[in-house]
Symmetry: C2
Subunit: 424 residues, 2 copies
């Protein structure tokens, strides 16, 4: 019964926040060592999954494949998490209510978190290492195509944890079946948060079938707005990176917005440039009057293609672009290309998305790129509070990225690398 496991996790969760960061880091180190020592075993289990997944489509199959190199990359991901500052015990507010009566707010783990993730073996390790470092208990359910690999990885992780801390070893559980998920969704008394990763359909299913708070994003419909005050060459470069650097992910753009007054100059170059890169273009009525591409329908504006397809819409001005994004976007990441600081200010404040970029590719919206070491997912949720909720509890944050035409391709290729230096 998965229920018994979850109840046990709940019991353990209150003990995790007092496990010293040195022990949590030693536990991560032990996992790194365990994985390194068990590469052959893990690869042989991965082979079983690959053998039974011959029917899988190419990109899914590729994500399932492990190799010695890939495992080493996964291990260096754990090292990175290990190197990060302790997220627990961070003082966020310290206030004297009266002399000798002091209030402090500090960070603690959330508790028990259920994660449902796609069939990529690196996900299990990444999530586990984030949970160990942040003191959260996890109930982990991976895609069924990776079942043998996940079992092997989980076995190695648990055994590695046991050598450091029995409590940490008991803080993670693996769930395997659809029935497990159904049971988990009923356990709102014991689980603090569900994180579904993967398709819109999965997220909607989870939201419709549980009272547990759900953190996840249903869609990644991102926009790039080429304003009349933007540099055309930069606009082309950013459109290409935002669409093509890796189209199958949520932070790739689906729609290009073009300010009407520069459409005749900009669009023919977009057509040449993107069609050279094998992108299918679909345009609004005004767009197809300027360039010869397929006509977009209303459905296109609300579609996450995750593919080499880009819809193009001509907007009359900045306000029109903002309204369009707030109506059709998914609150994920949107970019404006402009040299006009007033336009940028307005775009930044009025576009209601988690990440709002100036002159930079939407593909930067990612935990690794933001310097978080790793991410458990990208949330389009907007809430976050416990305890007395005052003004601060009524706000949420937004990421502002100010670039100068920066693209992810330069970082992916190794031409540039991240400095991740905090600014005081």
């Amino acid at each position: 019964m998965i229920k018994d496991s979850v109840i046990a996790l709940k019991g353990i969760s209150s003990k995790l926040s007092s496990i010293d960061v040195d022990i949590r880091n030693r536990a991560l180190l032990s996992i790194e060592k365990g994985l390194l020592d068990n590469i052959d075993y893990i690869l042989s289990e991965n082979r079983k999954d690959l053998d039974s997944s011959q029917g899988l489509n190419n990109s899914l199959y590729k994500r399932l494949i492990l190799s010695r190199d890939k495992i080493e990359t996964i291990i260096s991901g754990i090292q990175e998490v290990r190197g990060l500052k302790d997220p627990l015990g961070q003082v966020q507010l310290k206030r004297e209510l009266d002399s000798n009566l002091t209030l402090t707010r500090f960070s603690v783990p959330i508790g028990v978190i259920g994660v449902i993730f796609e069939s990529r073996p690196d996900a299990l390790v990444q999530i586990s290492s984030l949970f160990i470092k942040s003191g959260n208990c996890g109930i982990l359910k991976g895609g069924k195509e990776a079942i043998h690999t996940n079992r092997a990885l989980f076995k190695v992780i648990r055994e590695s944890l046991f050598t450091v801390s029995e409590t940490l070893a008991s803080s993670l559980e693996l769930a395997e079946s659809r029935e497990d998920i159904k049971e988990i969704l009923e356990l709102d008394q014991y689980i603090d948060l569900m994180i579904p990763r993967g398709g819109n359909e999965l997220v909607q299913y989870i939201k419709n079938n549980t009272k547990i708070p759900v953190m996840g994003h249903t869609d990644g419909i991102c926009h790039l707005f080429m304003s009349k005050d933007g540099d055309i060459d930069m606009g082309l470069k950013l459109t290409l990176d935002s669409k093509c650097q890796y189209p199958a992910v949520c932070n790739a753009i689906e729609t290009l917005l073009v300010e009407e007054s520069i459409a005749k100059e900009f669009l023919p170059r977009v057509k040449t440039f993107l069609e050279d890169n094998k992108v299918e273009l679909r345009g609004c009525d005004k767009t197809v009057e300027i360039i010869d591409i397929n006509r977009a329908t209303e459905v296109d504006w609300d579609t996450e293609y995750n593919d080499y397809i880009l819809s193009i819409k001509i907007v009359s001005d900045l306000e029109d672009a903002i309204s369009f994004i707030n109506k059709h976007g998914s609150g994920h990441t949107d970019c404006i290309v402009t040299d006009n600081s007033e336009s940028w200010d307005k775009f930044l404040m009025n576009v209601d998305s988690a990440s709002v970029f100036l002159n930079a590719s939407t593909r930067f919206a990612d935990g690794n790129r933001y310097g978080f070491g790793a991410e458990v997912g990208i949330s389009t949720n907007k809430i976050h509070s416990r305890g007395p909720v005052g003004l601060e509890g009524l706000t949420i944050y937004k990421y502002k990225l100010i670039g100068h035409g920066d693209i992810v391709a330069d970082y992916a290729s190794g031409k540039k690398c991240y400095s991740h230096k905090d600014i005081k």
Copy 2:
């Protein structure tokens, strides 16, 4: 149709974050003036509600009554919110990803929030002022007993806002019927958050009937743990304040835990002291062997009395107390009375509640007392994230209060007053 109003709010919400704090503060000032100028009108509308609420129980009826004094207190509450620092645009993270590629995280409003609140007219004004200051759109539904008062207050608020900003005036809407609530709960596409205030039943109903994230607390089952290393006189004083200073609220204690080794010394004094203050005591098996009170049943440990009733449980030690609190508490506020710093550390880290206190009354768990100016509610939720979720997104906070026997009665009576001085 309430749906049309909510869609309109969604449209307005993205504009609110760029309204300057000076304008938001001027809007609050205008509300203060509007209320002051309309006291007679508001009181006459309040009279209508009072006339049709003769059957209401005494404490509910009392909360419904407005007076000139009470309106002036409400106005000073708005002044306090006006005096607070702008919660928007606060930079939480600023990071150079590369030279000339800068990431900043800053606070923005949540968006459109639905609030369902009890029949106390001050709630409508308090919530409205918090929303105006924090740039959130609100759909407000008050208790039906206060319908005329709420309409009058809302009319004054909206007219006052109109003189300053049409956008702000359009950012709040009043809902009135049960049918409105049903419709609102369907609008997860437009509403970012629901905040139900009031009974457990209401909160459960909301959670069971919507996909909108819900922020609220289902119960306020708070504990005070009298440890063997605590000062007995202080324990008595804190028990009394935590239970009796205002029993009808969520931060009052429902259960007193007593460490076994001091039970014989402590319990007889508790009995005398609390029975003198008209508290009915209900004890566990071991307790009733020491003092002559009613026997508690299993139900008692999970009950929020909101009344002059206190259950008492003898626990064998600190660990036993912590387990009991984590099992039966509601994650709201719990206090330990002790002079042993090791016990405090363990209690603080392992009790999984939003507020954990040392030697201070649980009644301090309140937005005003924490220096937040006002509160929209107390959340027992544990989640909060948007954008890429790294380690920090996997943590939530906890409030630590270190006192020396401090009680709220001293502050309520004016004997002491809050300094609310931030400490660097």
